[in-house]
């Protein structure tokens, strides 16, 4: 069903691109993991981009030209990304790339981006410190996601000792080593950190260690999907009730987990429950456009939506489609979207409003607190 829709979107994009006259559309390339590990979230990203493009086109486009999408599957990995980036940049000759991807795919695609000097807005939260003069990031890095949860546990829950559990891969370990640093900087103590291989599902020995450690609070960063779910279920089955912050759970997964997820703290730059007129308008427009096929907007799809508007603002400010001029503007322009005001002015990264949410009994996420303008820190000091 969704493959059919993507085909439809693709072919309509191609039809738009076909006639060659003065007002060719401005093409936005979206390399994204329609297959592979990102396939669960990729359709929501494409939908968010489609809404942004539609909205902009009905209001007259950008510099009098329409926007069009070119979507390419990167299979969520490095090899697919090289192919997708090459075809978008050198065959389709897109004007800009805007997409969320795995870190492996982003790293594999960057050389092609740098070679063609095409602006690239990366819209996925990631482990941080990936720098290129052509790349801007409008999503969070660990320095923005971790502090809200730790601060909440140390002040509201009076936690002094922390236990950390993760999946054994670079993002999981990176997140938790940052978390450990932050906890210790704030005067807390990490009494244990344990990792399980990514395909591991039996957390029993780790949970026994957690209980023996007597920690006041727990912070986890597992791979998405199965490891996250199995850990949470086994924690609940073992009767673990200490404050529990999960750095890897999103709203959809939390909802699916049912009662086991109740009480979990999450930290994100977007949750559907954000109480702002921009977010309400965005959610209503998404529902009107996609109806029953709507993929719930999330922390990976909303940055995509906003990035299209950020690109529009940069092009308008540059006054032309000259790539160097647009790149010079991308770090200056702002857009007030569902997540609040976003400006990618911090060494190609953005200060963001971070939301601390707590999963409720019905699976929804309630915003417990918001932290405006959380700085990404020094991500790319050389840019």
């Amino acid at each position: 069903m969704s493959a059919f829709r993507q085909l439809l979107a693709l072919s309509s994009a191609m039809m738009l691109a076909a006639p060659a006259y003065a007002a060719d559309p401005i093409t936005i390339g979206i390399p994204v993991g329609l297959s592979g590990s990102n396939s669960v979230v990729a359709p929501s990203v494409v939908q968010a981009a489609q809404l942004a493009v539609d909205e902009i086109n009905t209001k007259g486009g950008v510099l009098g030209r329409k926007l069009a999408l070119e979507i390419a599957d990167d299979a969520s990995g490095a090899i697919g990304a090289q192919r997708a980036f090459d075809s978008l940049l050198f065959q389709k000759k897109v004007d800009v790339l805007i997409s969320m991807e795995t870190s492996a795919a982003r790293n594999a695609g960057l050389p092609a981006v740098n070679k063609s000097k095409t602006p690239y807005i990366y819209t996925s939260f990631y482990e941080g410190k990936s720098c290129s003069p052509n790349m801007f990031v409008d999503a969070w890095v660990p320095a923005q996601q971790v502090p809200p949860i730790v601060d909440q546990f140390m002040t509201a829950n009076k936690a002094k000792t922390f236990f950390m559990i993760g999946s054994d891969y670079s993002f999981g370990r990176g997140m938790l080593s940052f978390t450990k640093e932050y906890i210790e900087k704030k005067g807390g103590k990490v009494v244990g950190d344990e990792y399980l291989p990514m395909d591991g599902t039996d957390w029993t020995p780790i949970i026994s260690k957690l209980r023996a450690s007597g920690a006041d609070a727990l912070i986890t960063s597992t791979a998405g999907g199965a490891p996250n779910v199995t850990l949470t279920k086994q924690l609940r089955a073992a009767g673990v009730t200490i404050p529990y912050g999960n750095l890897a759970v999103d709203e959809g997964t939390a909802k699916g987990m049912g009662a086991d997820a109740t009480g979990i703290y999450i930290s994100a730059s977007y949750v559907t429950g954000i109480d702002s007129p921009e977010n309400k308008a965005f959610l209503a427009a998404m529902a009107a456009k996609f109806g029953a096929d709507l993929k719930t907007p999330n922390d990976l799809s909303v940055p995509e939506y906003e990035a299209v508007y950020l690109y529009k603002a940069a092009v308008e400010k540059a006054g032309s489609l000259d790539k160097a001029k647009i790149l010079a503007q991308l770090g200056r322009v702002s857009f007030k979207g569902p997540r609040g005001v976003v400006t990618m002015d911090k060494q190609h990264h953005a200060s963001l409003t971070m939301y601390l949410g707590q999963v409720q009994a019905d699976g929804s996420v309630k915003v417990a607190k918001s932290f405006p303008n959380v700085d990404p820190g020094a991500q790319c000091p050389k840019l």
């Binding site: 669960v40 039996d202 026994s208 009767g239």
Partner: protein, 282 residues
């Protein structure tokens, strides 16, 4: 290490062994009778887990999911025996290839029907119970009971029924059994269905601890395969292997690192087979 930690470690070992035993039994009986390794075992585990998922989505009691999962596994196993495995009895290597491929096909079919995402089944038993002053997961303790029922039922089937007698005869000497008028083809059909059914049941039993996704059976298949390799065709040997190798896994995970723990069963099984090619089997 204090008393409470030792107690928890002991409980972890017993419950882990019970889970491994339950997951490996179905593979063991098929290997014992048919001398082929059913590499679709992991897919049958996954199938059983989805049967449990369907039961819970229909609003049935989580307990009903268990027999349903057994039936789903057994029905699928019966079909597979007829269409795929039967022509390959004399060709164990081809059977490995066929069942491995079959496992992939079942996984993809499940993906087509249920989607790739991770799904969830509620637990029939939740919370903890006091064991000598230590709170411990009720469901993990229940799995020990389930393993005993599976093992006991299976031992009874083999030891006290006519079918069991015929099965043992086929295991010992198939040609002779055939000469005595035992329908070896029928025994194989029943065995394969039963083994697949047990895989399905195991799938439904482990889902309350884990999640349901199209590839969930694969890690279980590897451990079950190793356990069966060191156990031969003996249920008692499988029990011993589950307790010893599973126990070693828990101890190494708890005292050293869970990453090393994940390797324990595979490494120990390989070493064991090097030193004692018959493994735990007498």
């Amino acid at each position: 290490m204090n008393g409470a930690a030792v107690l928890t470690l002991g409980l972890d070992i017993v419950t882990t062994a019970a889970i491994l035993f339950t997951v490996a039994t179905g593979l063991l009986i098929i290997f014992g009778v048919m001398k082929i390794v059913n590499f679709a075992h992991g897919a049958f585990i996954t199938l059983g887990a989805y049967a449990g998922l369907v039961a819970s989505e229909l609003g049935l009691s989580p307990w009903l999911g268990l027999p349903l999962a057994f039936l789903a596994g057994a029905a699928c196993g019966a079909l597979v025996e007829r269409c795929v495995v039967r022509p390959l009895y004399g060709r164990p290597l081809d059977a490995i290839l066929a069942t491995w491929g079959l496992g992939i096909i079942i996984g993809e079919l499940l993906t087509l029907v249920f989607g790739r995402e991770v799904q969830f089944v509620g637990s029939p038993l939740s919370g903890t119970v006091d064991v000598l002053g230590e709170a411990y997961s009720v469901y993990r303790l229940f799995l020990v009971v389930a393993a005993l029922i599976v093992g006991g039922g299976f031992a009874w089937l083999l030891g006290a029924t006519r079918l069991g007698l015929a099965t043992r005869a086929v295991i010992m000497n198939e040609d002779l059994a055939r000469g005595l008028g035992i329908n070896a083809g029928w025994v194989r059909f029943i065995t394969f269905s039963l083994g697949s059914g047990l895989a399905g049941l195991a799938g439904a039993l482990i889902t309350p601890l884990s999640s349901v996704d199209p590839n969930m059976g694969v890690p279980w298949l590897l451990n079950a395969f190793m356990l069966v390799m060191v156990s031969g065709a003996s249920l008692g040997a499988l029990l011993a292997a589950s307790v010893l190798l599973g126990g070693a896994q828990v101890v190494i995970s708890s005292l050293a690192s869970p990453i090393l723990g994940g390797l324990t069963i595979v490494v120990l099984a390989a070493l064991l087979l090097r030193v004692r090619p018959k493994g735990f089997a007498r």
